[in-house]
């Protein structure tokens, strides 16, 4: 498939995530939209890694170009898993204190 299709698909998913962060007030939904944006970037990295592989595989059948892109996706997943565990703990603590997950109650750092 042309790489442009993958770029446009990833851009659409990324912008849907941005619209979600801008339009929702539930902290958990905002967090899910951030996960959506991370996944859009992951998809684009895999598509680019296969693009570089396609360019290199013409000359050499056993080319390993593009491996780094897929390893980056792996590390992004690792960081996302760590981020989700800490973030959800913060949201649970916030719910325990103010009995709501509405981010507009968090517009001041004090009190």
């Amino acid at each position: 498939m042309p790489i442009q299709y993958y770029i446009i698909l990833s851009l659409a998913l990324f912008c849907i995530g941005i619209v979600g962060v801008l339009t929702r007030r539930n902290a958990i939904i905002i967090f899910m939209c951030i996960e959506l944006m991370l996944n859009a970037v992951n998809l684009l990295l895999v598509a680019f890694s296969k693009m570089h592989y396609a360019a290199a595989a013409v000359a050499n059948k056993a080319a390993t170009e593009g491996t780094e892109g897929q390893l980056f996706v792996f590390f992004i997943m690792v960081v996302a898993a760590a981020e989700v565990s800490v973030g959800l703990a913060i949201i649970v603590m916030m719910y325990r204190n103010i009995h709501s997950v509405d981010v507009s109650f968090l517009n001041r750092l004090k009190n």
């Binding site: 939209c33 890694s49 897929q70 565990s85 959800l88 703990a89």
Partner: protein
């Protein structure tokens, strides 16, 4: 139109519709379920690109672990349609318009880029996405980042416990 293209368009439409439904659902539980559908569609894309290791890891880590964590938290807080906070209509429209403008600008940039018009992503074959190749690269060239990520996990675990415990 061959089978690969049909699967590509089907998975793309599924991912976009499910991503929109994540935003449009009033009930947070439905949002989580739609997000799981997005992750399945993206895993399908990985399989189509023959990145088999990432497809399985995406399913296990995202659809399996992270989304179950989200579901647990939402059900623990007993969030539903009635308690869902809503922004007013003007702010929603402003957010949608600004996101749409960003999408239009980025797509027009992609359309103008001449270098990538002839590039294609290799579908279905190529063994760089198989676990043998990725494992060799991970444990030869990327050992240090791999070990550092384990330290990151340990600190995230300690942080989650410290934040989550009642004081």
């Amino acid at each position: 139109m061959n089978a690969t293209q049909i699967v590509f368009w089907f998975l793309s439409a599924l991912a976009l519709v499910s991503a929109l439904m994540v935003l449009l659902s009033k009930n947070p539980v439905h949002s989580v379920l739609w997000l799981i559908t997005v992750f399945f569609a993206i895993s399908g894309h990985y399989i189509l690109l023959n990145a088999q290791f990432l497809a399985i890891v995406n399913l296990i880590v995202y659809a399996g672990a992270i989304m179950v964590l989200f579901l647990f938290v939402i059900m623990l807080m007993n969030l539903n349609k009635q308690t869902e906070p809503q922004k007013n209509a003007w702010l929603k429209m402003a957010g949608a318009i600004s996101g749409g403008c960003l999408l239009m600008i980025l797509i027009s940039l992609v359309k103008q880029a001449n270098e990538i018009t002839t590039k294609t992503a290799r579908m279905k074959d190529g063994d760089i996405g198989l676990i043998g190749n990725l494992g060799k690269a991970l444990f030869h060239d990327y050992v240090v980042p791999f070990e550092i990520s384990s330290v990151l996990f340990l600190s995230a675990m300690v942080g989650a416990v410290v934040i989550g415990k009642k004081d």
